[in-house]
Every structure is written in structure tokens, then in C-alpha cells.
Symmetry: C2
Amino acid sequence: MPRILISDGMADEAIRELEGFGHEVVEKHYSQDELLTGVLNNYDAIVVRSATKLNEKVLSTIDVDNGIKFIGRAGVGVDNIDIKEATKKKIIVCNTPQSSTQSVVELTIGHLISSTRHIVKGDRKLRENIWAKKELRGTELAGKNLGLIGFGRIAQGVSKVASAIGMRVHCFDPFLNKEIANANNCIIHTNVDDVFKNCTHISIHCNLNEHTYHLVNEERINMMPVYGNDGNKCGRHIVNCARGGIVDEDAIYNALKNGDLSSAALDVYEKEPLEKSKLLELEDFHGSPHIGASTIEAQNRIGNEMVVLLKDFFDGKRPHSALN
Amino acid sequence: MPRILISDGMADEAIRELEGFGHEVVEKHYSQDELLTGVLNNYDAIVVRSATKLNEKVLSTIDVDNGIKFIGRAGVGVDNIDIKEATKKKIIVCNTPQSSTQSVVELTIGHLISSTRHIVKGDRKLRENIWAKKELRGTELAGKNLGLIGFGRIAQGVSKVASAIGMRVHCFDPFLNKEIANANNCIIHTNVDDVFKNCTHISIHCNLNEHTYHLVNEERINMMPVYGNDGNKCGRHIVNCARGGIVDEDAIYNALKNGDLSSAALDVYEKEPLEKSKLLELEDFHGSPHIGASTIEAQNRIGNEMVVLLKDFFDGKRPHSALN
């Protein structure tokens, strides 16, 4: 009977379904120190979110014959899994890339509007009994250029909603599907800098890797125009609901502090949980605690997709989202 | 030389333009007590936003021959102007109905997503050094029914964006243009109750009058389903960026308190500025201080439209948005 470890939680319904297939499901979170003792050799498969780090050290403890043979990432980003080491140990790695798309799209649009219309600050002031109507004059998104760094499923969803709002969408993606970009009526750029040079609003939708680390930096922020396409001085706005580290948080802090940046909304951080960040001292910083996929719908879809991946794997088939 | 009083502010560019026409423009806010002393007889026209109340008592002080002959409302709602009394005094009343449409559309969508994804609460918790990722599980808008009360320009704009997000839009408007509703692919209802019975998310886009006062009440909140069209338990959500008084704030407080309502986002209140409201004690209340039209773009458009209205009036033409 296959033993499956659910390390960072999963939707109840999916767990019941796996048990219905006769699998033994253990819901338990091991610390990084515990993982190094070789506990994963007691399981056939593990399902993680982002909290459990399956790095080279942890995976090196795996016994190729008796340890886990399947790593399921309940979510998209696999930067917490050393896929190279997993391959060495003959462990297959799968993620659930489509399940959280809609949730991240909606959070991105929410952060864009919250930032430009001071929704968070407005509520904060009201709770301080300050009717800050005059100081909360914002700007419209309509008539402005939105730059999307990366143009996968999430960016395509953001593009559709932003277009309905009346924004003009620009994009850069080294792996761009031009047909999709054209169908979305996007202006395609061939390098990152040109997106920044054209857009007052930038949203990040790429993976974290050595090419994208600190992609949003002081130099690029200062390339952005402060006047919108419609001639209104809307300032510069950055949203990151992708991965921490793509945005240089020190550069964001300095740019907000000296007025080069009008707002920054971050859902993800270089070090999570975010603790005592100096960003939290600034009025025009908007933070959320990595909740891009934190919806009932996304978690249910992730659970359903993971059940299919595990079923296929234990049935001897190659799971549809295998990454190695 | 016509003398124009700008009572609650107007975009600088518009004021310069009026002066360019040779008008004398006075920027001054009189208290309600001062207005009762007949100061408006020193002007030919007045431009107000919502702060100045031109009620029956104030307008009764106007001398038909020497007092103001034009009231311009820089904005949409004219509930602060007694149009009947103005007509008696032969004063023409105009508003700028289209200038703030886009700004209110964007704020409404922003509040909808902020509410369902806990954007405000997430930022608040981060500033308290609490990484509240787990308690901030939200729900998607996609797959849910959005009910719009009123289907004028703003609701049509909200409908377009909400459809792009993946919501199914329902509406009720006693003056409904069916062609427009059909073109927006809206489900048309013939009474208010049916919208509440079908929708987990409701947004208000009607005027305040004797028919719409406390239209959102305890009974109607409890008519709303708590499960979305997609089968997910998303709870009930109310947004009001239209006018205070349409929503019964006590009913909202009680429903949030006892869990009948999952979130309420209000930009407008029965009494403004909002002071020491018990709503502010609740985590799932989201407030903004009447900033629907508070954008650079809306204020510029309002100013430009007011210049045209005043120019036409003083040229002896009937202004295009005359309400009496």
C-alpha cells in the first residue's frame, strides 16, 4: 500500500479521495532538520507547497530503492525543489501549473487597483478616524500602459482583464508564443528594458531563476515613464504576485522613499515569512502574505489535479505535468 | 462680468480656462450658516461637489433677479441640491454625469477583489508583524454571480470587467435599456429581490431616493445564496460605491458580526465624513472615504465638462446636462 506524505496541507476532499484508492495518507509537517535525518525513506511519495524545502541536502538522504519516488508540488513554482538532485535519485517531480491561474490573476488586478486608488491606506486612515478623502486622490488604470514580464497563463489572464479595464498591454517573454500575444492584442517587446521604458504600471509573471533575480531594480524603475499614455501624471507602479527575489526589495524601498515609485504591491518576498521589513514603514507599500493561490477554488483544483497525478504515477503512467 | 463661486474645489486647469473667458472665479467654501445669510446673491453661478448642501432653506434665500442662476454639480449625484426649489427660483441645475464613470468602475472592481481576497486585512496583519497566510484564504470571483442594482453607465462598465474576470452578471434597473443589458450579456431581473436571491456578490449603482433608501437591508442580505454558481462556498459580499443611505449600515454591521455577510466594502455612508462608526471595529468591513471620483483623470474631465456647461449657459444656450 503506497504511503503518501502531505507535508504542507492539501484540500480535505483530495485526501479522502486518495484514501478511497487504498493509499495511506499521512498529514505531517517535518522541520528541515527532521527531513535531513532521512524520514522521507518511510514514504513512497510526498506532496509539498512552498514551505517544505526539498533542497540538495534533503534529497541526498533519499535511498533510491526504498525512499520517495514522487514529489508533488501542490502549486506552480518549484524553486523549493532541487529537480537535478531528484532526477539523480530517480524521483519524478510534478507540479499543478494551471490550478491557481485564476486566483493569481484576480489578486494581481486587485493589487493594481488597490495601489492606484489607495484602498488599503483609505481603510487604515478610516480606522484612525481620519477622513483622508483629499490626500487619497488616485489615478485611473484606463488609458495607461501595463507591462507584463512573462506571458504565460497568468499574464494572459491579467492581460484580458486589464484590456477590459481600458489598459494597453505590453509584454516580454523569452519563450513567447506570438500567436497568443497577438490574440491578446499585446505589444510585444524583445527585451525587458523596453517594457519598463514604455509602461507606468509593471506586473511580474515570470519564474525566479538566475536571469530574473532582481530583474526589478533601481535602474529599471527609473526607466519607467511617470506620465500615462493619456497624458496624466499617474506615477510608477509595480506589482509582484510571482516569486520573491525577482524584485529587489531594497530598490523598491528606496524608490518609494524618495518618490521615484508611487506604489509597490508585493505578495511574495525574498525571505518568507516577511518579518520586520522596513517596507512596512511606508504608506505606499501594499503587502499580502503570499496568498496568490490561497482560495478555496485554487486549493480544490490543486487537490483534484494532485489526485490525478498520484493515481497515474502509481498506475505506472507518466503524470501529465512531470518536470523531469 | 459673470461671477462664479467654486465652493468645493475644481481642477486648476478648468479654473484658469474660465478666467480666460473673462469670468471672475472665486474659490471659497461657505459654511451652511453663511449660505443662509444670502451670500449666494453676490454670484451669478455656483459650482459644488457633495460637501455644499443647497437645500430648500439655502435656496430660499436667493433673489430671483440678482442671485445665482446656475448651479453646477461637479460630479453625478444631485441629492445635495433641492432641484424643485431651484426651479422655483429659475436656477438651472447641471451635473457632469459621465466624467467619473471609469473611476467608479475601477474602484468597484478594486473593492470586490480586496474584499474577497482580504487585501486590506493582509496588509494590516503584515504591519502587525503577523504572517496571516492561513487565515486569509479567500474565494475567486470567477464562476460567481454578480448582481448589479441599477444598470447605468457605471454598472455597464463594471459588468464588462466582471465578465472578463469570469463572473455572470445579473441586473435590475426600473429604467433598464434592454438592448444595452443584452449587449452586455446580462441576466435581467424585474425586481430587486430576484437579484439578491441569485447573487453571492452585489454591487450598488443606483441613485439615492425614497425607493432606494435602505434597499440593502437584513431581509435582502439573508436572501443571498452563500454558495457560488460553481459550487464553492464563497459567502455573501456587498459593495457600495454609489450613495450612502442605500445600504442600511446597521444591517451590514449585524450581518458581518453574526456571519450572515462575509464582507462589505463601502465608499459612501449615510453620514459623511464617517466618524466613530462601529463598522470600523470589524475585520471584514472595508472602508474608503468617498473616493469614487477622486482621481486626477475624473477631476480633469469634470472640470472640462463644467467649463463647457458654464460657457454654454452664459452664451444663452441650454447646457447639455440641464436637469430642470
